[in-house]
Symmetry: D2
Subunit: 348 residues, 4 copies
Amino acid sequence: MLKVAVVGATGYTGRELVQILACHPKVRLFCLTSESSAGLRFDQVYPQFRSLVELPLEKLTEVEALAESDFIFSALPHGLSLEMVPALLATGRPVVDLSGDFRLKDGELYRQWYGYNHDCRELLAASTYGLPEFNREAIGKSRFIANPGCYPTSVLLPLGPLLREGVIDPDEIVIDAKSGVSGAGRQAKLPFHFPECAENFKAYKVAEHQHTPEIEQELAAICNRPLRVAFTAHLVPMVRGILSTIYLRAVSGTGEQDLWAVYDRHFAGEPFIRLLRPPELPETKFVSGSNFCDITFRLDRRTGRLIVISVIDNLVKGAAGQAVQNMNIMQGWPEETGLKGVMPDEVS
Amino acid sequence: MLKVAVVGATGYTGRELVQILACHPKVRLFCLTSESSAGLRFDQVYPQFRSLVELPLEKLTEVEALAESDFIFSALPHGLSLEMVPALLATGRPVVDLSGDFRLKDGELYRQWYGYNHDCRELLAASTYGLPEFNREAIGKSRFIANPGCYPTSVLLPLGPLLREGVIDPDEIVIDAKSGVSGAGRQAKLPFHFPECAENFKAYKVAEHQHTPEIEQELAAICNRPLRVAFTAHLVPMVRGILSTIYLRAVSGTGEQDLWAVYDRHFAGEPFIRLLRPPELPETKFVSGSNFCDITFRLDRRTGRLIVISVIDNLVKGAAGQAVQNMNIMQGWPEETGLKGVMPDEVS
Amino acid sequence: MLKVAVVGATGYTGRELVQILACHPKVRLFCLTSESSAGLRFDQVYPQFRSLVELPLEKLTEVEALAESDFIFSALPHGLSLEMVPALLATGRPVVDLSGDFRLKDGELYRQWYGYNHDCRELLAASTYGLPEFNREAIGKSRFIANPGCYPTSVLLPLGPLLREGVIDPDEIVIDAKSGVSGAGRQAKLPFHFPECAENFKAYKVAEHQHTPEIEQELAAICNRPLRVAFTAHLVPMVRGILSTIYLRAVSGTGEQDLWAVYDRHFAGEPFIRLLRPPELPETKFVSGSNFCDITFRLDRRTGRLIVISVIDNLVKGAAGQAVQNMNIMQGWPEETGLKGVMPDEVS
Amino acid sequence: MLKVAVVGATGYTGRELVQILACHPKVRLFCLTSESSAGLRFDQVYPQFRSLVELPLEKLTEVEALAESDFIFSALPHGLSLEMVPALLATGRPVVDLSGDFRLKDGELYRQWYGYNHDCRELLAASTYGLPEFNREAIGKSRFIANPGCYPTSVLLPLGPLLREGVIDPDEIVIDAKSGVSGAGRQAKLPFHFPECAENFKAYKVAEHQHTPEIEQELAAICNRPLRVAFTAHLVPMVRGILSTIYLRAVSGTGEQDLWAVYDRHFAGEPFIRLLRPPELPETKFVSGSNFCDITFRLDRRTGRLIVISVIDNLVKGAAGQAVQNMNIMQGWPEETGLKGVMPDEVS
């Protein structure tokens, strides 16, 4: 059994990691850290886990078990991750970091989009962007994964094949994305206070969201040229789920059959991609609690627009599930290990 | 006091009409019809109204009070409205119809978008599209108003001034709209069953929504040329509210100041339009229960995109409130009469 | 026009006061204070009110307009109210205080239930408990009202007549009460963070809720003997509303007709009490946004239990609406003034 | 691998059975029936299950695979279950029926509480009430299980030990229970239409709920004397979960330590019961998606009341999870098999 550590275990992505890893047949939860709840047990913070996961929570700087762990997940908030991950890497253990702090290759971008000066730029070059469907081989050889953001995952998976095969115009990409509130993390703040948030819908960080350069970087890598996307994030009064509606222009002469062929070819054998044929349309509930990304599109003849729609669970395929998928690849295990048991969790 | 009738009073838009009209200082609720609940009183269907509105509900075909009413609102579902409105008009009373059955000038479009053959095409020519901010004068002279759809209201208000002044490219309009569940009406169906709908988000009728030709018709009228828009509707797990995110291309040389100038000029003195300056962004809760449309935009220099965002309450400015606004204009009353008292209703 | 001040205008009860008072035909909002948002305008904190209420927010200690106000509502949190209300009273203006700090006549109880030492005990004797249905005359003569708590209002209204007429056993009262989240106030805390609170239901402060002695004090006053009640509060994942289910023992020989007779007699002419006859049952939505309390009961012959159910909007009849009702009585105005226009606000 | 059939697989309890059984290491989903969706595949009704469970749905009367199944779960609605279960039993296979049709031993009660005449009374004697914590031995020998109702499960588990040891007064039991909307089943009806149900809370079937005699029958069996309980059900605007607040009188001389001792003794070694010590209080989210029942109590010295609180997931421990627990016992497998992997599913 692989002994795994989860650094930052009491945030929502940390908690989701614990849940998935507790059921994973090849690992043992070995060490959990929490800056805010050190001294308590995990199940005292999340009573759901009583009698299931009763490990102590320790401060990262005081934990000794970390050095004895075989594999480290870091689920710290961005900014803090930048400070702590170098020490995690120094243990020599493989590290999957779920923050945004090591995803952008161009360190300058952090000043503009994250509002801080990135002072570990050498690590930006060292990290591997952990999107298995496009990067499986590199992930398999890497010791340091920058796990993709939730919004980027929901965007890169449906756009990647289209860009790679050149069937859409890279200069005409509009992404309208909607997320449940767990994406905002576990810290209580007024915009996420129940009476403010329930029965409400809004856009936020318009033209300023820090996932924009991440999307652009990875799309550019896929089509070998720079590009810019319009990206808008919205907050949905629900706990989990992201749906992205993406407006594109197919290149002249590309029909529906061509587009399905592109998807079928690229995603054949992918364990966590499901293509939905018309008249089916994805709903966030279809992937709630699972590591799937469901994708469909409509080619609108009237307007010439191609409309692509994807859904993921922001905490699973958009965070913890994808992190475990990356670990499976790094360890040479079947990619679904411990993830197909993460079944859809909602009544409907 | 003007004696008003509400035909189809027990649907959600009918109910909202009753609520607003019950507080309107210049009218008296005189006659309510309901096909599904005839024989009951209004407050038996909506116990909220006990001791407030206890009028009987009658079948439209059996009601005698209709002929004695001074003004008729019709809130029947589309299809049924087509059948019933001619008789309402035959009473000689002014009629505001809240359905989509008389909004499209080109009768052929009904077959394609609504799935029926429109057999009262002469009435299409007779109706006035009731969007006061662009059509106030014609409304004042009309006896038959086709009250705008909820999504079109949320789109036409922010787009109208931009198109009229030629500051955006009419061929590059992408509308991503999101609505609360009351927009689907009061009939119980599986997609709106609480366990299916709560904690879920989805797109629906992609590239097929019947509000698309209504938006195109009215935008075309504003800019004097045909155009087509990409329009996608989504369902938000909340009761009320619509937010539309609209992606545009400003024409070369148009800056933020120019765009604000357009809006300020067009909406100066408008009682129900509120412009939000950055950093403010609209939220559906800001207009819940009120007749306001809140609008803002961001001009994204990186991508050259103009992103416009609007919010309305789908049942007020998107339906009943706008219908009453139209009545006020038709009667020559101050336009806010009975509508400024419709205050924001949510705790937050 | 009466010039009114709202002290603590940006909490949820303060905000609700502003909304109701802004539409009240006999008052003018004159002065708003906020410790947390001083320097902003009210509509900057609540953008719902843009173009409706744009008054500045001032610190209570710095506000000069207070002395020129004719009537003061205090909506400060408990504890702070204790500190500030003496100064408000010193202005000589009538004061309605919405906190719990002046409701309990026995000052000792504050230590046990509120966790502080009450050092203004002389003001406890000076305050009048503002439940109009049982205390109208005293309210009319008072200059200082302790406005009832939300839970107590939902309990005292249905229990009062039964106790006063001696038709139930005062030693067998079990109250199971459920409230929406706005009752917890506007401060962001983890238990009210959307992802924690949505899709969740729980009891809280079991056998320790500070509204318990308030209920006991007022029931004791009604039946002229001390008594104790079992009271449990629960949190419902919704914004507004309280429903109380109350389990009682009717005294021997009391039948359904007797009980209805008690209610009919006591509540005849009450503008804000609605009695629901079987098979009707109250729902919180029926009173959302209104000042009504809806009440029904079932006498269960199998068990001999009497089950009484009541609903109110915690922010209206449970706070701001009742405060305005008290002002109307103090001013000698018709009791519904400005409150019947507070119509039911939900679509359904 | 045991070949299992799920009859009525597309209702919410059927769906939950499919989810649990699909991950159960000792069974194979072999046959699914659905009257409403026969002809479709399971994943067409629940797209969550695409690529996971793609079995065809067949009409019960036409299915041949049933006879080849080794074990049958029936999740039909009550009434229909009465008609169909005799044929299921005639196959000779063990049957777990999740409806209420075979739970009451006194056939007369069906007329009063379920509104129909029970014409298979001999099967009432043949069925075993499937509450493992009180009936494990009989379940192990049974071929026909009447799986407990959701509310009764939440009530019997916390009350059973107290009654069995005689530490509470059996004539003073008040149960105030609250359930999420999935408990109402999957059929779309107006009370469960999202706009009616969201932001609303209500009691229903007051003094008439059909789970009342089931609770009384089983409590009577535990304490060997007849008794009656006051039971009120409420609807919470959330999908899953039941919380029951139970008001009791402890017998004279019974203190907190005695009560904890009773619980500790009775539930020692129980895999799915978790006792929460003060200050902890159960929340429905703590058991969402799991087979646990969490229990606590407070002995209120002021009033002499004992307040017991329990939570379950109505679809798991209240239905499908308990049914699988019963199968495990009947098959002689460890009781947690396939159920401890059903981990808490909510983000928080």
